[in-house]
Amino acid sequence: MGEDLRLTSLTKRFGAFTAVDDLDLTVPQGSFFALLGPSGCGKTTTLRMVAGLEQPSAGTIELGDQDITALKPYRRPVNTVFQSYALFPHLSIEQNVAFGLRRQGRKKVDAEVARMLELVQLSDLGRRKPAQLSGGQQQRVALARALINEPQVLLLDEPLGALDLKLRRQMQIELKRIQTEVGLTFVHVTHDQEEAMTMADTVAVMNEGRIEQLGSPEELYEAPASTFVANFLGQSNLVAGAVSQGDGERLVLDVQGTKVLAGRQRARVTEGKVWVGVRPEKVQLSAKGEVPESEANVLAGGSVSDVSFVGVSTQYLVRMPWGQELTVFTQNTGSRERFRVGDGVDLHWRPEHTFLLDASQDASAGVEREDK
């Protein structure tokens, strides 16, 4: 494609620490692309290298057919929305927004500045100084200041990180609307999986300087490629198992002595030891001994160890006979049976919701710590 952003073997080392490790990535023109990962995974460093604010230790950055690896930041057709916005405090909102155009030698900028302020719905505040604006307004100024230059790629470095939850949701919708409207390539760096999934067409999950998996939000969620992705994007139940029959369209597994089925297309491994994974909302609970639908995978003999009611759903923790606690989310539709702590339950889910991961991976990789 014409103006795709292409990173090839991109590497950045800070002393002995490798922040970005031999990264290959293509961001198609006009897409909303998210780089998702925990802090320290190298996503911001990657972004800064694309912006030209950091020099790669190795590898190339290409935009269309132009190699921009060695280009100074002020010569790149790329603009950044900084995490802390970095608005110029001595300039008015209008002057902030006009800054890029003026530096490119444009004299008449008023009409465009007005149009841009309208786009981000700040038309009345053009003469104010950044300090007189709220966080959400400043964020929109930062966006307008970058967008007005019509960069080939707009880089967003955790642009919503400093906003409170409600404002963040609102800005997510707005950002998505603007991206659709202007049709530019957006590369969005975030550690918020929900933000990445709601906004981006394509999400690349990064961990320790590498890309773990790249795909649409649905693909990543329904068929994670690694335990890290399975845990970082939403939650997963991962149970140790082994493939006993790996020939057919359906794999037959042995999980703690129970026969479990899995579809081939969501299996990353098809033989030997595996992690058998299923998302908590895919699992259903039924009272002990009640026979569920015949096709379902069943893990029997659980006991409810914790119940938390969260409005739309109820989250259960179920202790299994082999000691592991599994998570189950149940929609509070009113038609489902409610369970209490200590109740004996069986877990069941549809075979096609099962995914299989390499057993050599750490089952707790990517699990978010509460103190984060």
Partner: protein, 304 residues
């Protein structure tokens, strides 16, 4: 875990709002009481001396210390002082101006380096800037007499490389006086500049680069305007004392580099209080006028 586990990172909302929402300030006697020592100090050591100085400048010049002075409203003192010493006044302001510019040229890179490039050496460098103050002003200035002396290494070297003529010299020239002024007042330029630059978010410089501004343009449109408060403060702290200084001219200059401070000192020494006072007030007025114009310009100038 769900997204609810995330806490927003980065600056908190409250830091983004200006000083506007502090609410009405409480009034009470405590505030005024706290002002009292400062106000007393000002009255005693600024207001009273200034009034005394101005009234002295209007005394009858035919008086003397022994016979006493009579207050005659003798405005002619000013015309005499300006007539006799205009050269020194202009020279003082010129020297002070050159020294201030030199301080900016030397001090800005230094302050910038300390603020952005010094890393863990920041404090060491700051101490190094202030360290000369541990020695007396007089001693420091005297040592320049040695540094710039005719048979000392600096002059010898400059003669060798033909920057100076074989019989050329540096001491007792306007150059040595201005060098002395620059040296002595440099810290007063560096410290306020450092304070301004230190507050500057390096991301703003990155933002400048990201928005098509070359390093020089970023400096002109972002760094410099944001360093303006420090630059103005530093300029005042350098220019004002330099204009009235007489030590550097006394120790490092010659009779043709005399500054107005030297003349005022001599006039007071000779007992010509009215002329000395008139000259002092004239210098003060000139400085106030220049500073006023400068601050107005620096404050309102469109810098982008």
């Amino acid at each position: 875990m769900t997204a609810a586990g995330h806490l927003p990172a980065g600056p908190v909302e409250s830091t983004l709002v200006g000083d506007g929402d502090e609410g009405p300030r409480r009034r009470g006697p405590a505030g005024y009481l706290l002002l009292l020592p400062g106000a007393l100090w000002l009255v005693l050591f600024f207001v009273v001396p200034t009034i005394t100085l101005i009234s002295t400048s209007l005394y009858d010049p035919s008086g003397s210390l022994e016979r006493g002075y009579s207050m005659t409203g003798h405005v002619q003192n000013y015309f005499d002082a300006i007539g006799d010493y205009s050269a020194q006044i202009i020279r003082s302001l010129m020297y002070a101006l050159i020294a201030t510019v030199a301080c900016i040229l030397l001090g800005f890179p230094l302050a910038y380096a300390i603020a952005f490039k010094a890393g863990r050496w920041k404090n060491v460098m700051l101490v190094a800037v202030i360290a000369p103050f541990f020695t007396s002003f007089l001693i420091r200035t005297l040592s320049w007499e040695y540094i710039l002396g005719d048979n000392e290494p600096v002059v010898s070297f400059l003669r060798t490389i033909n920057v100076l003529a074989p019989d050329g010299y540096l001491l007792d020239t306007p150059f040595s006086v201005i060098t002395g002024l620059t040296y002595n007042f440099l810290p007063f330029m560096v410290l306020p500049l450092y304070a301004s630059l230190e507050k500057l978010d390096p991301r703003l410089i990155e933002a400048g680069a990201d928005l098509y501004a070359s390093p020089f343009t970023t400096f002109r449109t972002v760094t410099l305007p944001l360093a303006m408060p420090g630059l103005v403060a530093g300029t005042l702290l350098t220019f004002i004392p330099s204009s009235g200084d007489y030590i550097n001219s006394e120790l490092l200059g010659n009779p043709r580099t005399r500054m107005v401070g030297n003349e005022i000192q001599d006039l007071f020494g000779a007992g010509d209080y009215p002329t000395a006072a008139a000259l002092s007030v004239t210098l003060m007025a000139a400085i106030v006028l220049l500073v006023f114009v400068y601050v107005r310009r620096a404050g309102t100038e469109e810098l982008v």
